[in-house]
């Protein structure tokens, strides 16, 4: 559904994106994470056909991104919500639906349905009079007026309060369940982790790691084992009448078991804990800085 092959974008001497390649299958949710200036937005804009790659190619929904027809199957949500604030929400959305050749009745039904799901009232109000969260909901609705198969969302919940953020993330999850192919970027890695099937980590314009979460954790994360014993062993902490020792390998688990038995006790429970995406990201970034240093 989406493929990027060795995408590169230069602005004069500055290389914003270099050698970016990935594919996203139908119905997958692909997250792009990275620090500010990593090249996430530039990558998304090249996918949306807004920026021409300096080199490399990208295809979305079977079209080259340079083809105008591609945009009929695409819903793009930029990081900001640059709306025409003098228009009402409904007239704004109807205008865009018309540009996408959506029949009037269909557009009206679709717009109201999406706004209902997003719980947006005051639809006849001028956009300029709306709150930031309301504007974001209008922008999301605009990205769906053409019922696209592919959605490219750049920081969909950026700058919103926690309640609205949660609402929008849940809505995005819902869209994923409906079968939309979604590529989105976010600073909040918890959101990416919660809804993405696959993730690419970008830094300095390059994709430095990619894969599904398990692959990333295997490659760049750490698995920790929480071993609960009935007796105190070295480095353990008393917790609810038990003792917990955190170790990072199965050998250390075995060692803990031995120590507990030697102390006349036993192991009650062993729990495994994987690295979060945030920890994976930090590990990748740290190892990159070491390799560059």
């Amino acid at each position: 559904m989406i493929s990027a092959d060795d995408l590169r974008k230069e602005y004069g001497d500055f290389v914003a994106v270099e050698g970016s390649s990935f594919t996203v299958d139908d119905g997958d949710v692909f997250g792009i994470v990275g620090p500010n200036g990593a090249g996430k937005t530039t990558t998304l804009k090249m996918l949306a056909g807004l920026l021409d790659p300096t080199s490399g190619t990208a295809q979305v929904a079977g079209y080259d991104t340079a083809e105008t027809e591609m945009r009929n199957d695409l819903g793009f949500l930029p990081e900001e919500s640059p709306l025409y604030e003098e228009m009402t929400a409904l007239s704004y959305l109807s205008f865009f639906a018309d540009l996408y050749d959506v029949p009037g009745a269909v557009a009206e039904e679709r717009i109201h349905e999406t706004l209902d799901k997003l719980d947006l009232e005051h639809r006849e109000r001028q956009i300029g009079d709306m709150s930031k969260g309301m504007k974001r909901k209008v922008a999301i609705t605009r990205s769906l007026v053409n019922d696209p198969d592919v959605l490219i969302y750049d920081e969909p919940a950026s700058g919103l309060d926690p309640l609205t953020t949660n609402y929008i993330i849940e809505f995005t999850e819902q869209l994923a369940k409906e079968g939309k192919t979604i590529v989105f970027s976010a600073h909040n890695l918890f959101h990416v982790e919660s809804i993405c099937d696959r993730v690419a980590i970008m830094a300095d314009g390059e994709i430095i790691a990619r894969g599904d979460l398990a692959e990333l954790q295997d490659a760049h994360g750490e698995t920790t084992y929480h071993v609960y014993t009935t007796v105190e062993v070295s480095d353990s902490v008393r917790e609810n009448g038990q003792y917990r020792r955190i170790v990072e390998s199965m050998d250390a688990v075995d060692e803990t078991r031995t120590l507990a038995e030697e102390a006349g006790g036993d192991v009650i429970d062993i729990r495994t804990e994987e690295s979060s995406l945030e920890e994976v990201f930090l590990n990748v970034a740290e190892s990159r800085s070491h390799s560059e240093g």
């Binding site: 602005y11 004069g12 804009k45 949306a48 056909g49 807004l50 920026l51 300096t54 080199s55 105008t68 027809e69 945009r71 009929n72 695409l74 793009f76 930029p78 900001e80 640059p82 709306l83 025409y84 003098e86 228009m87 007239s91 205008f95 865009f96 018309d98 540009l99 996408y100 050749d101 605009r142």
Partner: protein, 643 residues
Amino acid sequence: MRPRKLLRIARWEVTKNAGGVDRQTVVIALVALALFTLVVPFVMSGETGLDEGLYRVSVDEDSQFSAVVESESAFAVRDGDVKAVESGDVELYIEPGLITFANTTKGVAAYEQLQSSVDRYNNRELRQEVNQTAAFPVSVVLDYREQGGLGESLRIADSEDEESESSAETGDDSDGGETERSGESGATDGTDGDSSGESDGSPTLDSDGSGSNGGGIGGFGASFNEESVSGSPSDIDPPFPFQSLVLAFLVVIPLNFLIQAYGSTILSERTNRRGELLLVSPVSRFDIIGGKTLPYFLGGMVLESVIVAGLFLAIHGRPGGFISILAVTPLVLLFLSATFLGAMFARSFKELTFVTVTITVTLTSYAFVPAIFTDVGAVALISPLTLLVRELQTETIAISEFVFSTTPPLLCSGVFFGLGAGLYREEDMFDQRSLRGRVLDALVGPIPATGGTGWITGRLDSILPVNITPLRRYIAVGGLTVGLIPFVFVVQLLAIALLFALGEISIILILIVVAVVEELAKSLHIYAGYTHGLFASGRRTALFLGVASGVGFFIAEKVALLAQLVGLPELAVADAGLQGGIIPGPAGLTALLFLFAPLLLHVVTAAISAVGARRGKREYTLAVGLAMLVHLGYNLTVVSTLV
């Protein structure tokens, strides 16, 4: 481009601000409307009205000046006698056989006003005489001729010279010595003399004798009325179509309001990235630009059509002005395109204000200044507004004249829209680069990037039997130079219009303008290409780029031969400015020099600039300066041969 989507965007452009028009805009519109409705009757009347009731006059009912004073709006009749003059209550006291005026500046002015009022009154009376031959016994045919070149004044037709001069002399003689003024509270007795002087000395002008240019016969009112042709020699005005010009100016005024609104809507797409979502919707940038421009173009045309039609209806009492409306169309496009490009360059509304003011001043000058010379010479045809003035004066307009006046602004507007459209994309619309950077971005747009086929070569490849892709950048550079020719042409025409009246020095000034503008047009996009890393830095590449640009310019420059169709090159400065030098001599030599001398010039100077451009900004500046000097030297040589 998809018409349906373009029209949808146009409809949106019109309706998105519905109900949101601020008070300031409404006030400006009302002021403009009021100005229009006030100016037209004022100009149509041919009277200023500013001096109405300016002078207080006490006149005895038995005085023959009583009717004169009554008919003159500058006079306010007051009761009183000669003491009223002394007390300052009136400026003039008129009684049979005696006129007393106050010994003040205003009193003297009132007396002079009375003299001219008597002249006009007498002329009006004479025109009502049944026997016009008796009233105006001398008939003079004036034939105004176009100015043939610099320094040549208007000439009266040879066959009529003596007659004209003699009549003028007669009039002068009879006018002179009619009045005497005493000093303080002086008196004059010359009433009879005035009227007899007019009747004796006034020539009778023939309406048919207005010449092929037809303008300027006997005062303002006569501009549109060929019957008002009798009068005194003092009624003979130089051929200056004041009334037509002022009315034509009304055509330009609305455009200045139009571009304010248009510039705002274009820039607002660029502020806060508002236009980003249109760019990502399934419409091309040309749909967006076309859709946003169409309402302003149509609105402008409707407004102009109403004004032109109204002028014709008011002046000629019948609908008309079709040619004028066609002639104004390129002007509307030129204003809009220049504003569009300016709005793409501006980074804020503050900068946009500067841009629109610059456009207003420059384009109003371009439209208005040449039109001042409507009845003087072909230089007036530089402006399409001249066609409007001439149609208002019921003169015929040749197709070649129409083409000459309208083609440069039309093509120039195409260049401006093209350059602006090159910037109408995500990576150029929303950044905050400097004006210089944006100009270079605009110029580099049509030059293909590494690996790209290029817009021009891509199309040529599909037409031509050979693959020209390896030459794509040279072709693009040459093509871009060709594309810039209308802009060069318009700048040169404007320079000619502004400078030609300065005499001999104007030739030098215009040649400098020519050298500067042409060398910039040939090299600026090459420099832009280098700054964007599109060309290899070798000297050979630079030379080839110079050759491509020089050849492109040479080919396109010959479009300037269009000027010859209407005789503009009769002006020496126009000849030098537009032809690139045609050296007189044997036919073969002329042809050789006509073709190869300018070609060599353009190639050499473009190559000089290109070689400098490859090294950087400072070197480019020096190189293009050198190229300008070479160009100027060449032009001076050619002109010294011609003139």
